[in-house]
């Protein structure tokens, strides 16, 4: 822990330095409580890199989290006794406070992208895993019975029947995991990754900055969420409410 605190000290120093340089920005309303539009237009490019970094971080973390959770879920789908084990383990990991998690990883991976990716992907495991498992166990028994009775092997049943039917719930899990990862990823500034948390914590008392940094983060969350929602509709057309009409 001491090692972590030592490494973090320059970071915190950096935060104060940046907040001082912010005072030189060409907006007189910097200390005011109102949103300064002119400053926003002039300084928008300073958010580009943090935004792209954060987007990349979220995509990598959710991608890795999904791959690991998917493998666990498939493994425990036929070995059902593994479900409480995996749920418990990912649940415990989920409770670790994110700053503490970064410090815990300091001696192993140090500061940087690696640590951030590990922390964020571990947090997604619980939600994604539980949703895949729930989706698979909600597959109608008669669909499984019919599939097996028609001569599908376990693998064919999984890929042709069970996973497609679990898809809406799997994507629902991905949506929650993605939105929460976008939010937590701002904290990865403490792992020394230049996400939107960087400008956010630099000038925590400057309203315009807060609104832009937080707003971009929220926009990213909404956009990714919508993207997943649309893909769910496209991939699971049989679930569209408009198709509920019975002949």
């Amino acid at each position: 822990m001491t090692a972590g605190a030592v490494q973090l000290a320059p970071l915190l120093g950096q935060v104060t330095i940046h907040s001082r340089t912010g005072a030189n920005a060409p907006c007189q309303a910097q200390e005011s409580k109102v949103f300064c539009f002119q400053w926003a237009v002039d300084n928008f490019d300073r958010y580009t890199t943090p935004f792209l970094n954060q987007l990349l971080l979220v995509l990598i973390a959710v991608g890795i989290g999904f791959a690991v959770a998917f493998a666990f879920a498939i493994l425990s789908h036929r070995q059902r006794w593994l479900i409480p084990t995996f749920t418990g383990a990912t649940g415990v990991l989920y409770t670790i406070p994110s700053l503490a998690f970064i410090f815990l990883l300091l001696p192993i991976t140090g500061l940087g992208w690696e640590t951030a990716i590990i922390v964020l992907s571990v947090y997604t495991l619980q939600i994604i895993y539980r949703n895949i498992v729930a989706g698979l166990s909600n597959v109608p028994v008669e669909s499984q019975d019919a599939g097996r009775g028609m001569g599908m092997t376990d693998r064919q049943l999984l890929w042709r029947v069970e996973l497609p039917l679990a898809l809406p719930e799997i994507i629902a899990g991905l949506r929650i995991a993605t939105v929460s990862t976008v939010a937590i990823s701002t904290l990865m500034v403490f792992a020394n990754v230049n996400t939107l948390g960087q400008p956010l914590y630099q000038q925590i008392d400057f309203k315009t900055n807060i609104v832009i940094a937080a707003g971009l983060s929220i926009l990213m969350a909404i956009a990714l969420d919508l993207l997943l929602l649309v893909s769910q509709r496209l991939l699971a057309p049989w679930r569209r409410p408009s198709m509920g009409a019975r002949a």
């Binding site: 008669e142 599939g147 009775g149 029947v161 049989w238 198709m243 002949a247």
Partner: protein
């Protein structure tokens, strides 16, 4: 029809099924021969093992002892997935894949067998027609179909690869009574064309009697109580269990197996328009049916003549009483009785295929038949016949 593979016989050889942790076997030393092209109904109360017996055929339940042969080949020597692709499979909940369209559902087994897309699609459309569904339903999802349509798609899907054997586990169990009857009739019509070997599980004895060429009645503990044709079953129950299961109304059920032409009909005095009423009145003396039936020149029934109709000199053109219900020689006896009771009438004219009078059916004929020593003699004869598959105990 694709190829038209011949149906295969199914034979159970001393089959026993024990589930782990249960003392009593679920199926007890079952031996049963199902001829190729026949419908064999497995019927019994819940817990009698009928579904277990069915599922051992495609090895969704594994056999503990004994063997099942399909067309002479042991199912135990076959890879389960390959075996199942050669058997149509229809279940009560239908089990259509909700995420696949009607056509994709029907194409399931052909695709598993490696057919190309075009051939599988052509087959799917052919089958939709065969089961009486419109071709343009093919791109609907199952949730967009009614229950009856879903069940037809289920049957089409089971027939897709032209399997020699069909397994049907309470296929019409979840359908309302009116549609169930329609689906049963459709399936019987279909079966008369396709001639598959069908194993059909139900808990409904009426359905068993209707659908089965032969019926296997199971009793608690997985014992085969009787294996016989529906008529034999109704006339000569092998034991008190079968008698109870078939029901106290088994005499009435027997009517479901008979047609009007199977019974001796009565003759009514016939009258023609313009005939002298005196002649008609003379015929009425000592006639089996105490009413005269007016027929046209083609001997088609036009109505019953009442006393007042016979007051005049000649028989009038329009009689007082309509001839309805008019029955057909090919009507099922049970339906004929229902028609009589519903019309609250004693007599109904029976016509042949051309609509010409063939005789008169009365409630009395039916009740006499049900209570007749003739029927009882028949029962005794049936009892004396050797029963092929006696009770398992």
């Amino acid at each position: 029809m694709e190829g038209g593979r011949p149906a295969a016989s199914v034979s159970y050889r001393d089959v026993t099924k024990r589930y782990p942790g249960q003392d009593e076997p679920a199926i007890h030393d079952l031996s049963l021969e199902v001829e190729a092209g026949e419908i064999c109904v497995l019927v019994g109360p819940s817990g009698s093992g009928k579904t277990t017996a069915l599922r051992m055929v495609n090895r969704t339940v594994e056999i503990t002892e004994g063997n099942i042969l399909i067309g002479g080949t042991s199912v135990r020597d076959r890879d389960p997935a390959d075996l199942r692709r050669e058997m149509g499979y229809v279940i009560q909940q239908i089990g259509l894949f909700p995420h696949r369209t009607v056509a994709q559902n029907i194409e399931t087994v052909p695709r598993l067998l490696g057919w190309d897309h075009a051939r599988a699609r052509a087959r799917a459309e052919e089958l939709l027609e065969l089961v009486g569904l419109e071709r343009d339903l093919h791109d609907r999802f199952p949730s967009q179909l009614s229950g009856g349509q879903q069940q037809r798609v289920g049957v089409a899907r089971a027939l897709a690869a032209d399997p020699p054997v069909m397994l049907m586990d309470e296929p019409f169990g979840a359908i309302d009574p009116i549609n169930r009857e329609r689906l049963q009739n459709e399936f019987l019509r279909l079966q008369s064309e396709i001639r598959k070997t069908v194993l059909f599980v139900t808990h409904d004895i009426d359905e068993a009697v209707k659908m089965g060429d032969r019926v296997a009645i199971f009793q608690e503990g997985g014992h085969l109580a009787q294996y016989a044709t529906p008529a034999e079953l109704l006339m000569a129950p092998a034991n008190s269990f079968v008698e109870d299961f078939v029901g106290a109304d088994r005499a009435l059920k027997r009517l479901a197996l008979m047609r009007v032409r199977d019974i001796d009909l009565w003759e009514a005095p016939l009258a023609f328009v313009g005939q002298a009423t005196g002649e008609v009145r003379a015929k009425l003396e000592g006639a089996e049916v105490p009413h005269a039936l007016l027929v046209d020149s083609e001997r088609r029934p036009r109505g019953w003549l009442s006393q007042s109709d016979l007051q005049g000199e000649t028989v009038p053109e329009t009689p007082d009483t309509s001839p309805d219900p008019i029955l057909d020689l090919d009507d099922v006896m049970r339906d004929a009785l229902a028609d009589l009771l519903q019309a609250e009438t004693q007599y109904a004219p029976v016509t042949d295929g051309q609509g010409r009078i063939a005789g008169v059916l009365s409630v009395e004929i039916i009740s006499e038949f049900l209570g007749s020593p003739e029927a009882k003699v028949e029962e005794h004869a049936a009892i004396d016949r050797p029963v092929e598959h006696p009770v398992g105990e």
